[in-house]
Symmetry: C2
Subunit: 234 residues, 2 copies
């Protein structure tokens, strides 16, 4: 590290304990919920994110595939969408003492199905104590979902295959953490050609029934936006 030409130095010989950690999210009323698993009884915290050690690309499966397998095991089925959001390797404690933890954010629709034993959903606003590194990872993961929901179909993957436009708007509000203007939201949505109506309607108590839609992106937007400056400082 002190060498001025690092690539001359050495092979990556010695190694570090690496974990893959999953922040799996689902809608839960007005908030997101995160999947946590019972920790072994010796642990300081009773709950942890689902995670798995990683020992290198063994059977041709890289980190991303291994993380998907870990998520599928924790949830009981494959998440609807998943992305890597960062590698954490600082002094913050990991439940498995991993030196480096690669974080994955994943989403799945709300389900009736039972979870595997020991797993449970917790609203992000009411999390139990978790290891400091897991706490940081959850915050980063939720921020990553919010930041990328305009460029990836995250909101649609948090919903079942058919949904009402109000459902969709509520998912956006839940992820963005703010209210959204209804007419404006629907205009934008229409212009983006992302959904198509089905011939089904859903009656939710009283009030006019809502039409069900499905995610069906049809057209690519030119996407030419003006230059935006959202800098806050530094």
């Amino acid at each position: 590290m002190r060498d001025r030409t690092p690539s001359h130095s050495a092979r990556a010989g010695r190694s570090a304990a690496v974990s893959l950690d999953i922040v799996l999210c689902t809608p839960h009323g007005r908030h997101l919920a995160v999947l946590l698993a019972h920790a072994p009884s010796g642990d300081r915290e009773r709950w942890t994110l689902p995670w798995a050690p990683w020992r290198g690309a063994a059977n041709d499966s890289g980190v991303d595939e291994s993380a998907e397998q870990c998520a599928a095991a924790a949830l009981g089925l494959r998440p609807a969408w998943m992305t890597q959001f960062g590698a954490f390797g600082d002094a913050k404690r990991h439940p498995g003492r991993a030196a480096l933890s690669v974080g994955y954010a994943a989403v799945t629709p709300a389900r009736e199905r039972d979870l595997p034993l020991g797993a449970e959903w917790f609203p992000v606003t009411a999390l139990p104590a978790v290891a400091p590194r897991h706490k940081a990872m959850i915050e980063t993961a939720v921020a990553a979902l919010r930041d990328r929901m305009d460029a990836a179909p995250i909101a649609f993957r948090l919903l079942p295959t058919t949904f009402t436009l109000t459902d969709l708007q509520e998912v956006y509000e839940l992820l963005l953490g703010r209210r959204v203007h209804k007419a404006s939201f629907r205009r934008s949505l229409q212009g983006a050609y992302l959904v198509e109506p089905t011939d089904e309607w859903r009656s939710e108590g009283r009030g006019r029934p809502a039409q069900l839609f499905r995610y069906a992106p049809r057209k690519r937007r030119s996407g030419r936006r003006g230059v935006r400056f959202e800098l806050l400082g530094g």
Copy 2:
């Protein structure tokens, strides 16, 4: 990995060879340039990204600090801005056979100063052959810089402390890969309160001299944007 409750399984016992890899960028005419270092003579490719093995948080320095040290060693001074953009652990070959490579994107202004021996700038449009994993990392890093330049002062860190508005616009065009409207660009910039004028002017051949500005963010924008749908499919 096959266990349904992964956190019950084990500690992160066995380990993997981890590398930190730096995609260091600077402006170079109409394009970005990336810093590459001579590879050891036994290597298949003659050039590599600056990188360093990582063996775990030794002397209280986590991955991010270690990566900064690696970047500073390769450049001869600390980069002006730096961020992690992803962890790569698939079948693609790394020059040091690292199982997992954590990638960092960094920027620095164009300099007259000499580089450390063995290091050289290459335009991203004319890169020599590098290991497949490094090729993928360079592409991801440049995309990450483009994506985040509206939320982080990346363009300003690619410039010296004082610069003309045309300089700044050219950096935006270089990162975005498209032309930008001059009057519109300056209006947006004014509204964002990000720069302040100095009392210096620079004469560039003929034509009216341009005033020099410095980066001095003063105000936070409310930032309430409407919901955007930039999805392309999938």
